[in-house]
Amino acid sequence: METIRNFSIIAHIDHGKSTLADRMIQHTGLADTRSFRDQMLDTMDIERERGITIKSQAITLPYLGRDGKNYTLNLIDTPGHVDFSYEVSRSLASCEGVLLLVDAAQGIQAQTLANLYLAMEHDLEIIPVINKIDLPAADVEKVMEQIDSELGLDAFGSIPCSAKEGIGIEDIFEAIVTRIPPPRGDSTRPLSALIFDAQYDAFRGTVVHCRLFDGTMRAGQTVMFMHNNTAYRVEEVGRFGLNREKRDRLEAGDVGYLLAGIKTVSDVSVGDTITDEQRPCAGPLPGFKEARPVVFASIYPIASDDYEELAVALEKYKLNDSSFTYQKDSSVALGQGFRCGFLGLLHLDIVQERLEREYDLSIILSVPSVRYRFTLKDGKTVFIENPAYYPDPTTIIRTDEPYIRATMMFPERYLGAVMKLCIDRRGEDSSISYPSPDRVELRFDLPLASVIYDFYDNLKSITQGFGSFDYDILDYRESSLVLLDILVNGEKVDALSQIVHRSKARERALLACDRLKEEIPRQMFKIAIQGAIGGEIIARSTISAFRKDVTAKCYGGDITRKRKLLEKQKKGKKRMKMVGSVSIPQSAFVAILKSDQA
């Protein structure tokens, strides 16, 4: 156990976490340069493209220290986005130390701080690493100052490096073995292991990633997942190399995996405690939470024939994503579909993209919604996240919506603009602090609904990329809500209905009408688009009719050319959804989805 080190890398998005992880793997010789794919740990295409880690990953790195000892370093890679902060906290709970990565040009950002606080909560040894020192804009001095004044860490203990260029990697390894303490624990005590991730393997079922605090785990043993209260017979345990490496047993302090014929990842809860059924530990490890979706949207296939295919794709997808939820849903306008729950908007984006890319499905997403609370005259309280189930307005006595506390950091010169953005998004109870002279930390309580669309995008653009954002879910607060419907030629497009704050209803309706007008191509008849609350029309736009759409010639006998042209148009039309006699392109649904939310 003395030669084991369990650590994680935490960083603000884009500060180079995956690159550093890759470089460290390369350094240990586990992967040779030739066979090395950049960003080994981010195995999904989307992860590599977006440069963020979605799923946690773990890998065991052998390292020969300068003291001549052979060390076993367990690197637990964590997701790098606020949507996944619970997963981050479970990964950190499995470590004794972290590398806190800071971009030498960008300095400390909100997530750097948020992650640092998390690390501190878990009492971890923190090693600041200043990355990207090769950049022309790198200012190592200044970042050291920030580390000292804003993080309150010993700046002289920080390690400058360039993960991209491979500079400073050896120093990082030495710091890990000398500064991060070895795990404490006792292999003779009852088993106590923390689940920090679970992944699906088509052949072996769920691969449970865990960290053992006490006891041992081996094949044949019957283990208990304490929160789920289920028992499994262990089939195999092992460590993470580039692939799974089977071992006889895992002991206290180890990070590894277990296979037990568990069918889906949903049978496993991240944060749960594994113990021995015969000889259980005193109690579960602290910090368990159930990952609950906070953003909801319906997914429909563009072609209703694809419904079965979508169902299969969701089932498969769900195998590997326990925080994603879905159930059947149907829309008058869009037919059969599924109501889905997501941890946040990024999570939603990822699911959408993977369905389209990996399962080759063309889908339409309805306007995302949060879960609202309605208090009714009969004293009942109902939670509604689907506008289709909006209660009869005459029965409602009170409406509430979920709030978050947002923490934003940015250079002081943007304060006015960011304040305005937050107030516009119905922010309240703000507080400002100045962790360093020219840097502002702004906290705001905001309705979750007002940030799930494009708040972060707006923040980034207002602050020219210097602004960072993090949030915690707070509570429900009273709010004046209405149901906004969108009508196309008098027909309600239920998938475009939204629950909105009364003060923003008109603005939102106008925007929806305008966006639809832009996105719906002119058709053979005039199209009226209306926004309505109840029976009252509050916004409208009109798309005039197309009147001439025929080519003059059939090119002599070359009917083939003509047919191919029209077949192409037909294909384009297939990507549209018919509502009554109006074809609405997918882009129209997307445009509504992306529009500014208030």
Binding site: M524, F525, F546, R547, K548, D549, V550, T551, A552, K553, C554, Y555, G556, G557, D558, I559, T560, K562, R563, L566, E567, Q569, K570, K573, M578, G580, S581, S583
Partner: protein
């Protein structure tokens, strides 16, 4: 010279009858003459101005006739197009027609058309035509506005077109068609109406009024895509279309296809109608298309390739396709909707007489209510406004 004819197997003279319903309808024969004195700036059809290849073209054509002889039972239309067939010498034309008549028997009551450029048509040419079996002439007038003719890169003036028409009438030619173009950049509705009035004044049996289509690779196409020239907007194009249809119908013409008007059913272009209703046709010459049953094939759009293939005794076919049921059905719909006859209702899988609202197609319902389509005698027919939207209707239905 002597030209033989055979009797049509079916003696069906009902002009409303759709030839494709016939078990083995006579086919159409098209010969592409890929030579022009000069290239017009909008034309996307294959042709060359290099007359030095004329003799090898004529040899090749002869060989192609031999290779394709017997493939079709009988023909009832003949169309000499291009290119500009009227640039050929009389003797060359005469030989070409004679060869063709020998190889491809024509039924009684056939239609045989030649395309001609107004500048090539004089009294001499007209009396020559009268001695051939050709019985229809299609004149590429395009416009009676000299500015527009110049823009289109035509070789003739409005005056020459009028003179050609006079000459044809004087020679007693009884089935004359005019080609006209509208929607030229800068063209006003007034200028187009003037052309239409003058065209109608010559009382042609047939009028083709094409909206200018910018073909990629042509000077007009390039100028339009670069933004140098601007085609009229959709609204103006709609008005060109409507005014053309309204005016010509008021003058007694039948608007029987998107771009075609006839002074009576018997003057509809029998040959062109074959393209629209899946009647077989054989195309000879470079770039010519053929169709039979469920197969369509087309020749190389290159005179060099055409001649070299035939020199090797090979059919000069560039490619072919086989149409499955869906292809044929879709073609029937989009081609049918371009014509006044429309399409049989059962092509759309709906039945006439169903109570309103139960045709099972909201688009069809909407088009009927919006007077884009009408249903009569078991057929869905486009109205005038429907014809202007024929492509879209086909895609939506």
């Amino acid at each position: 010279m002597r030209f033989c004819t055979v009797t049509s197997p079916s003696d069906d003279t009902d002009p409303e009858k759709i030839p494709s319903d016939d078990p083995s309808p006579p086919a159409g024969l098209y010969i592409h003459v890929p030579f022009c004195a000069s290239r017009c700036s909008y034309c996307g059809f294959y042709s060359t101005t290099d007359r030095s290849r004329l003799s090898s073209y004529r040899d090749s054509l002869k060989r192609e006739m031999t290779l394709t002889a017997g493939e079709f039972e009988a023909f009832d239309t003949f169309y000499l197009g291009g290119g500009t067939p009227s640039v050929l010498r009389r003797s060359e034309l005469e030989e070409m027609i004679e060869d063709s008549w020998k190889v491809f028997p024509m039924t009684d009551g056939y239609e045989a058309t030649i395309e001609a450029n107004p500048g090539d048509v004089d009294r001499d040419f007209c009396s020559f035509l009268r001695d051939t079996p050709l019985n229809r002439i299609n004149l590429g007038v395009q416009s009676f506005d000299d500015d527009i003719l110049a823009y289109l890169g035509r070789r003739h003036h409005a005056g020459e077109a009028l003179a050609a028409l006079d000459a044809m009438r004087a020679a007693g030619l009884g089935n004359i068609g005019l080609d006209l173009i509208y929607g030229v950049p800068g063209q006003s509705l007034e200028s187009w109406m003037e052309t239409l009035r003058r065209a109608a004044g010559t009382e042609p049996e047939h009028l083709s009024c094409y909206e200018l289509t910018p073909e990629p690779g042509t000077p007009v196409g390039e100028r339009c895509s670069s933004g140098e020239d601007r085609l009229p907007g959709e609204d103006l194009r709609f008005r060109f279309f409507m005014i053309t249809s309204e005016y010509l119908e008021s003058m007694g013409y039948i608007h029987y296809e998107v771009s075609n008007f006839a002074r009576g059913v018997s003057f509809r272009s029998l040959h062109n109608m074959k393209y629209w209703n899946h009647t077989p046709y054989l195309g000879l010459g470079p770039s010519a298309h053929s169709f039979a049953g469920n197969r369509r094939w087309w020749n190389h759009p290159s005179i060099g390739r055409y001649c070299s293939d035939l020199a090797d005794n090979r059919r000069p076919v560039e490619d072919m396709e086989t149409l499955d049921e869906d292809d044929l059905r879709f073609e029937s719909i989009f081609l049918g909707l371009r014509t006044g006859e429309g399409i049989p209702l059962d092509l759309l899988n709906v039945r006439e007489g169903d109570p309103a609202g139960e045709l099972g197609s909201p688009v069809l319902e909407r088009c009927l209510a919006g007077r884009l389509l009408e249903i009569s005698n078991g057929r869905v027919r486009p109205t005038r406004r429907g014809l202007a939207l024929a492509d879209r209707l086909a895609v939506l239905l």
